[in-house]
Structures are given as structure tokens and as C-alpha cells.
């Protein structure tokens, strides 16, 4: 039996959108898939050594369940993002959902390959020392080399 493969393109850097790539990558790896995740644009935030800047915003996010209905004007106030992020993290913990850090480590332990988009690093003038060491830097063509031969390919 040949090994199944999955490729994910992770383009979002918010707390809510950080979960799907890490959950799917770690699960596929546990099921025996060979997995690569290509982090581009805002997705690159998910490769930072320190993930504390990964946040969730209630602003322009009408689908986010709120404890009380909150007018957009209030969502704009300073500190609302930090508060929403803190509440979301508490909720995740209470329900036994793994932290991003834990899921990311589980991916790495299971040999999920992380590729950071070199163009994005240059574009935003990121310092590579802020990213985890276990990622490779590459471009679209490098990713296609793997993605073109996968059973599952997702854009998140």
C-alpha cells in the first residue's frame, strides 16, 4: 500500500483559523498520511516561536458566538481583541481542546513538514529567528512538487 498524502495551504493567522490546519495535519499524520503544510501570508504567524500574538477578533466576525450581543461600536473599543482571545482560550481549555502550541508540537512529532513562504517573509520583512527552527523556506513551485501528488489538498 502506498502512503497517502495530504497538503494544506494555511493562509490565516487568527486563533480560530489556526486550528483547522493543525488539527487536520496532526490527525492525518496519525492516520499514516505524509503531510506538508505551506504557510503563506498571515498563515506565517502560526510558525512563530511565540504564539501569544495569535488572536481572535469579534470585529467583522458576526458568526462568533458571544456571551451577550455586542454592537460593532463596542467591539471596536481598545482591549476587545485581547479580551475575546482570553475568553476563547479559556473556553478551549475548559472543553479539553488542545492549545495551538500542543497541536503544533504533535504535528512536528509526527513528522508533518512545515514550509514557510519565502516571499511572505521578504514581503513583511520578518526576522526568521522569530520562527520555529523546524520549518523549511520555499516557494509555490516547491510546494506543487508535493501537492501535485496528494490525495487531499486543502486551502485554509
Amino acid at each position: 500500500m502506498t502512503t497517502k498524502k495530504m497538503a494544506i495551504i494555511a493562509t490565516k493567522g487568527t486563533l480560530d483559523m489556526a486550528y483547522p490546519p493543525f488539527i487536520l495535519a496532526s490527525t492525518a499524520a496519525a492516520l499514516g498520511y505524509e503531510v506538508q503544510v505551506f504557510f503563506t501570508f498571515y498563515g506565517l504567524q502560526l510558525l512563530r516561536k511565540d504564539l501569544s500574538s495569535v488572536m481572535i477578533s469579534p470585529l467583522a466576525n458576526p458568526a462568533m458566538p458571544m456571551p451577550v450581543p455586542m454592537p460593532v461600536m463596542v467591539q471596536m473599543l481598545p482591549g476587545m481583541e485581547s479580551m475575546a482571545t482570553m475568553m476563547m482560550k479559556q473556553k478551549l481549555k475548559k472543553h479539553g481542546v488542545a492549545s495551538l502550541e500542543e497541536l503544533r508540537s504533535l504535528c512536528l512529532e509526527a513528522d508533518v513538514k512545515f514550509i514557510a513562504c519565502q516571499m511572505t517573509v521578504d514581503l513583511f520583512e520578518f526576522d526568521k529567528s522569530e520562527f520555529i527552527d523546524q520549518c523549511e523556506y520555499g516557494g509555490a513551485a516547491m510546494f506543487m512538487g508535493f501537492a501535485g501528488d496528494t490525495d487531499i489538498c486543502l486551502f485554509i
Partner: protein, 75 residues
């Protein structure tokens, strides 16, 4: 049922029960049995899917006082 190793994944949500099962199986020998306890009701279908896709037979699934007990044999 006799088992060689037990892992309690109570309180953990998807996909942790599966990831922990995979890790628990990793250092077991072929033919050994893992007992997994979970409270995530999604684990019932996920453990079956894990078994189907990895070939580790799921010997039994039971529910006891809000907990799901699985016995899985390492292939």
C-alpha cells in the same frame, strides 16, 4: 478484557484522543492491547475510522457512566 496498556483521555476533545492513541500504540508490540478511555462522544466514530484507516483492529467499544471504553489491538 485483558490489556497491556491503558490511556485515559477523559476530558480531551478531538483530535486529542486519536493523537494520544497513536502515540500510545507507538511503543507497544504487535498483538498487544490498548485500553483507551474517553469522554468525547466524537471519539466513538473517530476511533472506528482510525481503526479502519490504520488497520489496528478495534476489539470493542462500550459506554459506561458517560465514559467510552475502547480496546484496540496493535496490528
Amino acid at each position: 478484557m485483558d490489556f497491556d496498556k491503558e490511556f485515559d483521555a477523559s476530558g480531551l476533545s478531538c483530535p486529542l484522543p486519536i493523537l494520544k492513541t497513536k502515540k500510545a500504540l507507538a511503543d507497544m508490540a504487535s498483538g498487544q492491547v490498548l485500553k483507551l478511555i474517553a469522554t468525547d462522544c466524537g471519539a466513538v466514530k473517530d476511533m472506528q475510522a482510525f481503526s479502519d484507516q490504520t488497520g489496528n483492529p478495534l476489539l470493542s467499544t462500550a459506554e459506561e457512566a458517560g465514559k467510552y471504553i475502547f480496546f484496540m489491538k496493535k496490528k
